[in-house]
Structure formats: structure tokens, C-alpha cells
Symmetry: D2
């Protein structure tokens, strides 16, 4: 019994275990079809409408291919020889398939406002006896759900399995780069997957790459960097994320004050407004549930709520400019001007740097210890990637994000129908040059 799914990235996805097929057919997994992979990115790249479902089966497929290659070329012969033990295959495949199962709609923004935690929820979906996922996993063995969860939590004892799913160069990242590249229609994310898989090999401390594939690995790292710069950190998508965040915050504030219109109750959000939700509440959410409430809120009597809802649904992004440590001092002035022009600066301005965003860029300054990429030479010794690649070293040494200040597009108007605003707009604009906040020249 081998089944296939047709996939634009991997051509076919091969399902070779009943457990995998059954997991895909659970309601928790099918729900991922209704949650977009890239959140607000499709407001910039309209093709990027793919769901977390497609990404999840893609991660599964890459993991399957890695296991296949490891088993063919590096099968363990005795315990502890650092080679691949194919008994690990099923736990690796399940972890790959389910690694994102805890995501909800617009996860990162939603979490920020409602203090949910998709990683904890992932673990709960796997281990709670109430879920279909758990029921399928328990058929393997009673502690199998916990094993799969521990892979995702990186506490599983075999580092090869953990690194397949999460490391600097894992099945997760490899799938999303190729997939997001395909669906956005950019080509920055492409790299040579086949070659990388070919030079991958297990060893005692995890997974390494033969040095002959150095350039393929380098190309992957550079592609990843470019996708972050050009797709994931795009200012327009971040601006839509800002609007979404403020919209949810406004609704919550209104609810807390008892001012949210009651004619149309947002039933499925109530547990989150009340900060008292359970797993089954969470599993009812998806992108469509949120936008359905936003459609209702367009008719709200609260002007800010209805305006933000319309801006989100009808794609009216905020504008943004860069600032830095030197010009950050000017932000209060700019916020004041936005307030003066009639926009509540709390809801109509924001700052964020790229790291606020829902994607973990290659950030070596982080506290979190990351797995390095090690390359194996002919004599078995290892060298770290950035020591032999100038390109990778260049990215490694520098923080690559930018900090931006967001504000209503109207502030950039050249003229104003309401005459009183004209000097405000003009002053605001005097602080902006070449897309950056600057100290205006005295005239």
C-alpha cells in the first residue's frame, strides 16, 4: 500500500505507512488546509496563498527521502556506530509531518495578542487523548505520541532525528524555501535539494555534509538569506501584520470594556478574549473564522475597529520608512504629527524590526545556541561552514534586519483636501528622505 499525493515542489509525495495516511486524514491536520503558510505575505506576492497543509506534507516528503538515502547508504550495523538506524524512520516521519500542527491563523500575531503558544499546543495535540492525532499515534505504541513530541521539542535522544526536523539546514527550512519561492513566483529560494540530500550523512553527533557539497550548502544559505530580505521581511507584508495586530488588540480592548457590539457575537473568539480557552476552542480557529469576524466588524460603531477591519480586508497597507539608533529619537515627534492629523497613533503607527516577524532568520547573535553546519572532509575531520565560505561568513557576521516606522499613507499626501492638515503633512514629510527618517535640513 503506497499512496501518492501530487505536489508542485516534490512532484509526488509518497505515503508508505498507514499511520502517515491516517494522520493526514485527522481533523487536526486537515484544518491546516485553512491556514495560510505565509500569513499576510500574499498581500505583497499575490501567488503566496498556499496553506500549512502543503508545507507539512512537503517536510514529511523531504524527511522520507533523507531516511531512504540514509538507509541505503549508511545503515547502522551495530548500536552506537553513528550510522542510521531505520527503526527511527517512523518517529522522524511523524515528527516531520506534525511539526507545525499547533499553528493557528496568523499565529505569531495571534500569539502576541492572546498569549497562545503554538509549540505548547503542538505538544498538546500530540499527547492529549482527545485528539484524532493522538489516537493514531497511540496505535504505534503508548509512548509513541510523547516520542514524536520530544523530537519536535528537540529532547529526543537521537540527534540525527532531531536535526532532520530542526537545525540550520533541515527538512522544514528546505521545504519552505522551495515552496514559498514557487508560490510567490520569485526564484530567490531555489537551491539544489537533490545535491544537498546526496552529500548529507549521519554521524554520532547528528547530521553532516560531505565537503564536496560545500557550494550547494552555501547556495542554500544564501538563498535563505535572500528570501528573508526580499519576501519574508517585505515592508508591505509587515505593515499588514501591524494592522492585523492592532485590529485584534482593539477588539480585545473593546470587549474588555464591554463595548464590542453584541448583535453579532464573535463566538469562536470569546474564549480568547476571556483568556480562558481550551484545546478544542483553539482547534476551531482558522483564517476564515478571523476574516468572518472582520467582515462583521466593518459595520462596527467603533470607528477604529471598523477602519482597521476594512484596511485589513481590502488591503490598505500602512506606509513605512527605515530608522536607526540615531534617528529613533525622532519617533515621538512623528507620532505626535500622526495624532495631530487625526489618527490615533496607538493604532495607526508602529515600529518593528524584521525579528518581530514570524520567521526565524539566520541570527547568530541570538542567545539560543544553534546547530552549526559542519562539513566532513575525506579523512573524516569536520570543518564549520563559515570558515571556508566567504559568502556565508559575510551573512554570519552581520544582523540583517531593518527597523521600520509605520504610519498612514495619507501622511505622504502632496496636498490635502482639508487645508488645516497640509502643514502637518508637510512637516511630517520633511523628516523623510530616500525611504529613511532623517533630521530635516534647516531652511
Amino acid at each position: 500500500m503506497e499512496k501518492v499525493l501530487r505536489d508542485p515542489i516534490h512532484n509526488y509525495i509518497f505515503i508508505q505507512h498507514q499511520v502517515i495516511l491516517d494522520l493526514i486524514n485527522t481533523r487536526e491536520f486537515q484544518r491546516l488546509r485553512r491556514i495560510r503558510q505565509l500569513g499576510t505575505s500574499n498581500s505583497t506576492f499575490h501567488g503566496a496563498e498556499h496553506s500549512r497543509f502543503t508545507h507539512s506534507v512537503g517536510v514529511y516528503e523531504i524527511t522520507r527521502q533523507i531516511c531512504e538515502l540514509f538507509q541505503r547508504n549508511y545503515p547502522s550495523k551495530k548500536k552506537g556506530d553513528g550510522l542510521w538506524d531505520d527503526h527511527e524512520r517512523l518517529v522522524a516521519l511523524c515528527a516531520a509531518l506534525l511539526h507545525d500542527i499547533g499553528h493557528g491563523p496568523y499565529s505569531h500575531t495571534f500569539e502576541h495578542i492572546f498569549h497562545t503558544d503554538h509549540e505548547a499546543i503542538t505538544a498538546e495535540i500530540l499527547t492529549s487523548k482527545t485528539t484524532e492525532v493522538n489516537q493514531v499515534l497511540r496505535r504505534v505504541s503508548s509512548n509513541f505520541p510523547q516520542e514524536v513530541a520530544s523530537v519536535i521539542q528537540k529532547t529526543y535522544p537521537n540527534p540525527q532525528v532531531v536535526q532532520m526536523i530542526s537545525s540550520q539546514i533541515d527538512a522544514d527550512r528546505m521545504d519552505y524555501l522551495l515552496r514559498d519561492s514557487y508560490y510567490t513566483g520569485t526564484n530567490y529560494g531555489t537551491f539544489d535539494l537533490t545535491r544537498i540530500l546526496r552529500v548529507m550523512r549521519p554521524y554520532k553527533r547528528g547530521i553532516t555534509f560531505h565537503i564536496s557539497g560545500m557550494h550547494a550548502v552555501e547556495d542554500y544559505i544564501v538563498s535563505r538569506f535572500q528570501m528573508y530580505q526580499q519576501v519574508y521581511f517585505h515592508p508591505v507584508s509587515r505593515s499588514m501584520e501591524v494592522i492585523l495586530s492592532h485590529l485584534l488588540k482593539r477588539a480585545k480592548v473593546l470587549y474588555e470594556k464591554g463595548k464590542l457590539d453584541t448583535a453579532i457575537t464573535p463566538h469562536l473568539l470569546l474564549p480568547f478574549f476571556k483568556n480562558n480557552f481550551c484545546l478544542s476552542d483553539y482547534l476551531k480557529l482558522d483564517d476564515g473564522v478571523l476574516t468572518t469576524y472582520f467582515i462583521h466588524w466593518c459595520d462596527s460603531s467603533d470607528k477604529i475597529l471598523s477602519d482597521l477591519a476594512k484596511r485589513f480586508l481590502n488591503r490598505k497597507p500602512l506606509k513605512s520608512v527605515r530608522f536607526n539608533s540615531r534617528t529613533t529619537v525622532l519617533l515621538p515627534k512623528l507620532r505626535d504629527l500622526v495624532n495631530e492629523a487625526g489618527y490615533d497613533a496607538e493604532y495607526y503607527t508602529a515600529t518593528n524590526d524584521s525579528y518581530d516577524l514570524p520567521y526565524d532568520a539566520y541570527d547568530p547573535t541570538s542567545q539560543k545556541q544553534r546547530t552549526q553546519i559542519e562539513l566532513m572532509q575525506d579523512d573524516g575531520t569536520l570543518v564549520e561552514l563559515s570558515t571556508i565560505s566567504n559568502l556565508v561568513a559575510a551573512i554570519t557576521g552581520k544582523v540583517s534586519g531593518d527597523e521600520r516606522f509605520f504610519f498612514p499613507k495619507e501622511m505622504l499626501a502632496r496636498s490635502s483636501q482639508v487645508e488645516v492638515f497640509a502643514p502637518i503633512y508637510k512637516e511630517f514629510q520633511s523628516y523623510i528622505k530616500n525611504g529613511r527618517i532623517t533630521v530635516p535640513k534647516l531652511s
Copy 2:
């Protein structure tokens, strides 16, 4: 002022008129981002999650390219010379962009149950003064909205403009074949767009193709045929369509009987249950609104409603087999067996042929007169495509759809936990062989 949108199919989409940019930014058009192009097809081809928004801008772009080529190579010199009058460009571009603006969620099924009409709604969106689309169009001239509508309704006087948007080989079909092919990850829909555009030319009665491009046109027709056979008519997608249809029907019936749970009112559907809706009611609908209600209905006390909602959300398709004019006589018997096995046959069985489906296949037996594809020879005379292409003739002469009977997958179970059902299942299965209904052999 030229703007571009990044697009996976056309690489870039060039926006060269303020009117086009403003139309894209209307709320009616942005709403298309929340309506999937292929309805239930992503239940078969998981990559097919693209929206009507992406298709609409694609049709615009192809039309823009045609106008560009016509203006460069075949500009009209005097009225009535049968060449291209570039004053027609804007009306053509607007009609291309807006041709699908009247679609709602899962249009064809929805229309079937609620008697909406997306073509009438398209016209209304264009001509009603309440819409943002109308406001933008009126800026061109007071009768411009009506002109654009008449192109879509095929009553516009210039047949070149009409045929660009709707004919056997128009910008609409060319975009959806390429786009659906890309997003499903199949390659059946690919053809040589550049070559077809290059041999296209205007003439008095519309649009023709130079005979040197015969094979490219033939390839397009064959690709279209194959996409219908393999993607649009796929039995699993049709089965999900059946479930959706029965689910909406059940909800409507319950509502009419006053039995739909009132705790959670499906506010945005009420106007349709009451058969008393206006344009603004319609424009609030999208895929997410429907699935939000389905999520609620999973908890309904009506067993059929909740079961169908779960089947739709969690992708539990019905099974199907082919039947024909000879075996149609067996359907009542099969429905009886389904009833006996505990499934209400009204909601758990259905028949449909491919032509019930939301895509108009190449069907020359139809009553509707279609524009033929004419090829122009060196001396200016025309020949009809199927007279010189064996492949096209082969498709032209035959009806290609199939008729299927849908029923619960459980009917195919090899054994049953409930012993009493076992003989029912067995009898049911005796009527099925090689995916077709057959008369069982006497034993």
C-alpha cells in the same frame, strides 16, 4: 506611472493605467482573494489553493499583451478596416480584470442551492452606483460601466474585444489553464502562450490566428481537454462538491422547518435562506464565511448536518463509480441498499456527469453557439481548425464527460463491525466491477 505585480505565471503583471490600479484596490475586487479559483479541487490536488484574485489579474495581463501586440502590428488606419483601434484598450482591460467579479464562494454549488447568478451579479457590481468598482469606472465616463458590462455579456459591438475575453481561445481560458496547471503541479495545461499571441490577429469578424501557428492552437485545445479530464472532472473533487451541495441543502431545509440551531445564528447566510438578499449581502460572503458556519454546524444536534459538515471540513469524500445509459436502471436498487445500510440516500448518494461541474468543457453538441477557431492562410482565406487538425476533430466529435454515482465509502467495506450490514455491503459490491456499475453475474 507603471506598477508591477509579481506573478508566478506571467512573471510580472504590468499596470499602466490608474483606473486598473484603482479597480484592483476596490473592496469588491480584493474580496476575490478570499475565494478559491478551483472550489473543491484542492481536496484532490493540494497545491490548488489559489484565489480568483490571481486568475483575474492574469486574465488582465494576457489581454494587455494582446492589445500591445495588436497595436504594434495591426493598428487600424481608418474606421472599418478590421484592424485594431487602440481606443478599445481600456474597455478590454477592465472587462478582462472584472469578468469574474461576480463570483462568490463555491459559486456553482451555491448558485444551485440559493438561486444566485454570478453573471447577473457581475453586471450589477459594474453598474450599481453603490460599489467602489462602479465609482472607479464612472470616472472614465458615465456610460463606461455599462460598456464594460456589455463586453462581459458579449453584446459589445466590437467582436475583437468580446473574443479577447470570451471565445474558445481567450485570455480567460489561457490564464486558467496555465495557472491551474502550475498550482496543481500537473503539466497537462501547459501550451505555448507566446506563440499563440504571436499568431493572433484582428479581423472584421473578431480574432483569427495565422495558419503557421496551427500546431500551437491545436496544442492549446488538447491541453484544455486534458485538464478537464484529469483535473477539473476529478471524481474526488466532484464528490466534495456533492457533499457541499447536500450540506447547504440540509441547512436550508432545517432553517425552513425552523430546526436550525439558533444558539449560533449564521447571520451572513440568513438573507439567502430567506431568499431575500441584496448585493451587499452577497459581497460579504467568501469561502471563510461558509467554513466558519460549517465549523459551528459540526456541533449541530442534526446528525446529517453535523456529519456532512465534518465530511466537508475534514475531507472525507464519497466514493463513486461510473454508470451509463444501460446501467442507470440499477441506481434505485443501489440507493435502496445505501438506505438499508443506514444512510439517508437523499443526502448520501448523488449522480452527476462532468457537465454539472463548474467548468465549461469544449462541448460542440451544446445548443449555445460558440465562436469557432478560424485560421488565416497566406492569401487571407480562413479555415476552421477541426478541418485541418485530426486531434481537434477527435475531441470535437465526442462528448467526453463521464456519469458517476456517489455513495459512502463504507459501502465498499470488506467486513463490517455491525454484522447485520455485512450482506448489504456484499450485495452492493456485487454491482461494481472495474470502477463501473455492472449487472452482477448469477452464481
Copy 3:
């Protein structure tokens, strides 16, 4: 020891036997790098400059993938069960790799003039002890060279192995369609290789396909048809083939008459002029050897030889028009006019139909019995493809080639510098309309 070759069509080609690697490294196989796969087609599609080497390793790779799938899914359990016996793998792989080893430069034209036979030479290369190929093959076993040869000659007892390499849908055809499509930059030849491989299965009488893959097989047949129509039978390539043929004929005639310039002896062609060549003579030929002599012949004192050589090297194709059984009667008249205009009609005109060309189209009217494509239904019964595919039936029933008359482009000149030729040109042109020979209208 697994080696890979990078390949644009298959991404990587996996070499898993030392014998295969050694065969690739023989001088007879390396020679295929210097012989273009598509002969004169690059005069029409300039990208089509790929060699028989790349095609041969591609056929090998597809065969390897088939064996891999057969071994995984249909391994023979006991002799005669009709499943795949993996002991056949090596003979299949070698036959796949070497099936074109006997080709020389512009094989079909060369054979026509010099009575060589690439099939006989293939067998000789495999079985003659003088070749490196034979030495490598003999290392497997003493009768292995003969076994491989018998696969190519279709006399090998196991029909599965034979049909992998030569049948209506074999590794050879599948590779060349994809490869020629890629290198020409057309996309007519693309089809779903992965899906076809997935539905392929061995059975007693050879290879069949599961009926669920019917549309993929159909698509392959249609793609093949379209490649023949649009690439392989292109009139300009055929015209260059005509020039080549006449050029070699002229040289041979001059040699036989002792009139070929002796200053520059075409050493490597002499054995063929003398009709007395051995295998090692043949193996010294390649495309470059022929063009080197053509470069010399540009300076020949024989006007026809030098003119044809220049036409071939500098790409000055003849023109052509279609004719049919009704208009064939006019050919002598047209040849007379060409003679009158100063061109020796023997060397400057020709007729050919597509079947003269070096590619075997799908031609069911042929005397040669071909393997039909059989599809297997769920219950194991077989149906022949054209009985269930309208598209395939359409191609099956009709001969698709065209017959053309070739002549110098100058005959189509609108005016002539030499006044005396003007009426000849004019009369010639009166016989041609819409690319066809026609009976001129009386004026």
C-alpha cells in the same frame, strides 16, 4: 561506489555498476559526444545542439529507474510468474546505454549514400573483440556481449527487457522527447514521466500500464505526435538534410569519376567512397570530420560541390512546398523550370515525405508489427489504448506526414537581376499558393 552525472533532464544520472562506468569511458561511447542527436535540426531550433552521448545516458537512467521500481514493487518470486527478475537488470542497463552506439554522423543521410547500417554496426561494436565496449562487456561473461546485442535486436527471450528499450513507450522514446523538447526550447514534448513510471508494471508478455495512468500515457502519445509534427518534420531541417545528401552524393560521384580535387584528400571518407570500410574506419567518423571536409570543398573547382558545401555550412536552406497525389504530376514541369533557371535539378531539387526522415513516427499502417500499448484494469484484464482514448484513436487512424518538393529559394524572387530569368521565376511561382503546389488558374 555510486557516481552521478549532472543532467538537465533527469537532474542526476546514477551510476551504480562499475561496468556501466567503464562502458561510458570507452572510446566508442565517448565518440557519441561528437555526434549531434538531431542531425540538422539545430538549423531550425538553434538550441538543439545536444549529442547522442547525452541521450544515451538519459535512456540508461530511465531504464535504471524502471528496474528500481519493478524490483521494489513487482519482484519475481518464482520463475515464470511474470514479475521482475532483477538478474535482468544489468543486461537491460547495458542495452539501454548502448542502443545507439552504432550511430555515425548524420546517420540516416550517410547510410542512404554509403550503404552503412547503424544497427548492424551496433551489433558489431558489441560483439567484435576489437572494441573497448566488447572488452568491458566480456568481463561480465563471455556471452554477455551477445545478450546485450540481442536485447537491442529484440530477440532476447524476456519481453520485459526488450520492451523497456524498444516499444511504443520505451526508455529511448521517453528520453528523447523530454530531451529534444528541452534543448529546442519548445514544450511540446513534455509529459509526466514520473506518473508513467509509477503505473508501469511487468507481466508475462512484457510491460503494461495500470489503467489509472491512461491519461498520462495518452498525453505521452500526443506529445510524441506533436514533436514529430513541429520539430522532427520541420521543413527547414529536412531541407538541410536534402542539401547534405546531395553534397555527399556529388562528392562520391566526383570521386568515382576521378574528379575530386586531390590536393586535399578526404582520408577518413575514402573507405566509404571505395565502398570498402571496416569498423575502425567507421569509428573515426564524427560530425566534425564531415564538416572539416566540407570546409575544404568550399574551395573545390566543382561548382556544384562547392556551392552545396557552402549552403550546408552557412545554412542556406532550400525552400519547399507541399504536394499531394493530385499535384505530383506537376513536379517534372517544376524541375524543368529549375533547370532552365540554371540549377541542376538533380542536385537542387528533391522530394521527400516525413517518413524519409530519421525518426519513426507512430505509424500503425506500417508492415512492421509494433507492440501495442495495453492498459491493465483492476481485475487484471487488458484493454488496448486506442480503444479508450479518442485522442490516440485520432492519431492512430491517419498518416500524418506531408510530402514536400524542395527547390532553390531564388525561384521565389520577385524580380531578377538577370532579366532572362524573370519569366521563368514568374511561371514557377504561378504553380504555388498557400504553401502548396496548385494548378495555376488560366488568366
Copy 4:
């Protein structure tokens, strides 16, 4: 009169001037079909068999697209305004098409041995009245040939035209990266051509790019770097280049000593052996001419000549290892060992670094002044690329080539049939570790 050529990279190449069509049809240009673009690279990447012809028409097409965009978006309004004067189009197109017309077979190696100079020959082909190219160019105006030549020589007064054809980011480099990437089947060379063209703009000192396209330009530079590292500098291709060079050198030395077999005279090479050649001698050479002589030389009585000819024709590359300034001192010792093992070190060893190779890498340390890539900000000021791109800065600062020592593969044999050589091999191998020359450890 617009003609098209089908092209795998640009889909279609549009010919819109009779002059361009006539230039393509000259014998000097058609000759480029018989000279491979990448010399010996197809010995590593077998797909890379494309000719200089395909690259030349590709450079033309990119230049045409640039002119088209410049004329549409930045037409000059008055002399000296720094915008695009479309009267420059024809000279730009001709220079683009003809920039490589002076290349011969394996140019760089050939030049090294025979002191030819493809740049000087390019100029001569353009300006000598004996060529067909010159005749076509003169039809435009009497000094047009010289104008086209001056663009290629970078002395043409308009820097926009010069930089289109040769600068760090010109039509030449953009075409070869995309084309070589396509034909090798690697994807390292891909970048977003459409986006780069879109942000390109003319200004007084040449061509600049709007800063919004920074990442696309960065991606191009990185792609170029990676193609050099992974394709152009591949050790196996360089090794075949070494063999070719030594083979030609040996033939020349033998000729000078009167020891080259006279039975088969290499007529077309004699002028070069004699160092007394004219343009028409040069124009008779192509890849096939050289390999034809190599085929003859396989039978030479000179062992070195025949062995090197066989190694080249039958692809028997030398092996190589890296060395550096510290280990260069060991090279004489290694050469001695090669001599001792029976190989004449003059012909069987070599050193080269990547810069010996026929491709100019991005090398800012070079003496030659290169055009920098300047990006234009919104206010019109310029910034140099490497000041704002970490990735480009990383490549800019470092020399990226490697130095290699080449020697016969046999030196790496683990055992030897001739016992006396075993200790020589062993000692040789003691100097090599992880692909590098190292000082052996004392044992």
C-alpha cells in the same frame, strides 16, 4: 518584417532589422555554430554542448530588450540630457550580436599556443572588406563597421552603449549565466533578468539601477560567483584544458622539428604552425577541424602526441590537487616523481589557477579598471553596490580562485602492476591529503 528564433532561454528572439538578419546569415556568424561556448566544460557537465552562436543571439536579444525599455521609459528629449537616444539602437544591437565573432575553437588555449588574439580578429572581421559581415555593416554607412568595432573595444563615445555590452552587469554576462546554467543543468546561474531590466536606467555616465532592485542585482553577482566556483573553474574541465594545451604544444614542437607525420597533413593548422596566418585561415577553423586532426594523431608514431590525443578525445582527465604559497615549494619534488614514474612532466603535469581560465571572474584586485555597479536612490544620488550589500562586499574583498597541480591519475593507484613503480606512487601519495598538497608527517 519581424522574424523570430526559438530560444530556450529567452523563449523567442525577435529580429526586427534586415541588417541583423543578414548578419546572422553571414558565413562568419554561422561558423559560430561549430564552436562550443564552454570549451571543455562539457567533459564535466555533459549537457553543456551549446555553441557561441546561441549565446551571441541571446546577447543580442537582451540588448534589444534593454533598448526597448530605455526607449519606452527614458527617451532622450534633447542632446546631452543623459537619457536614451534611440538612434544608438542599431549600433548597440550589432555590437551585441558580433561581440564574440572573433572567437575560434577553444579560443583561450589556442591563443596561448598560437598567439592569435580573438579581440583583434573581431575588429578585423568587422572592418576588413573581405568579410560578409563587413559588407552587411557597410550597407548602413561607410563608417558603421568601425563604429560597431569601437563599441566592442569600449572606445565608443556613448558609455550607455558600451556598458550594455561590457560592464560588470551587461547583456553578455547576463546571457551566458542563464544559458550556461540551463545547458549544464545546474541552477546556480539563475537570477531575475526581468527585474534587473526593469530597474536599469540610462544616465550621463552610463547605466545605473534603481535602488529598489538592489537585491536582484546582488543575486546576479552571487549567481555569477557561484557559476565560476562550480562550473567554470571545475577541476575536471581545467584538466581537459591542460591536456588540450599540451597536445597542441606537442604538435607544434614536432612540426618545428620536422617530426610530425606527413602522411596526413593538418592543412588547416599549417598557417598557425608556421606562425603565418591570415584572416581567411583563421575563419576555416572550428572545433571539428581540431578534433579531426586529433583523430589522425591518435595513430601518430610519437607516443606523447598520440597519448594526449586519445586522452582528449576519449576524456581521460588528469587528476589535480590544490596547493598554496606554502606548499608550492613541493612542486618540483612531485614533478620529479611523475618523471620517475615514466611520464614526461612537461606534458603530464601542469599548474594553473582559476584566473588562467577563459572567464573573467569578478576580480577587483585586477589592474584593469572596471565599471562599478552604481545604484540610484530616489533623490537621484548614487551608491556603489558593495557599500550596501554584505554579500557583494564579501566577494569583492577576496580572491576566489584556487591553484591546482595536475598529474596523471595513475599516480594515485593503490597498487601497481609494475612493481618498481609502487614506492614512487606511495611517496607521491604521501604528499596529498584532503585534496591538498601537504608536508608529509615523519613516520
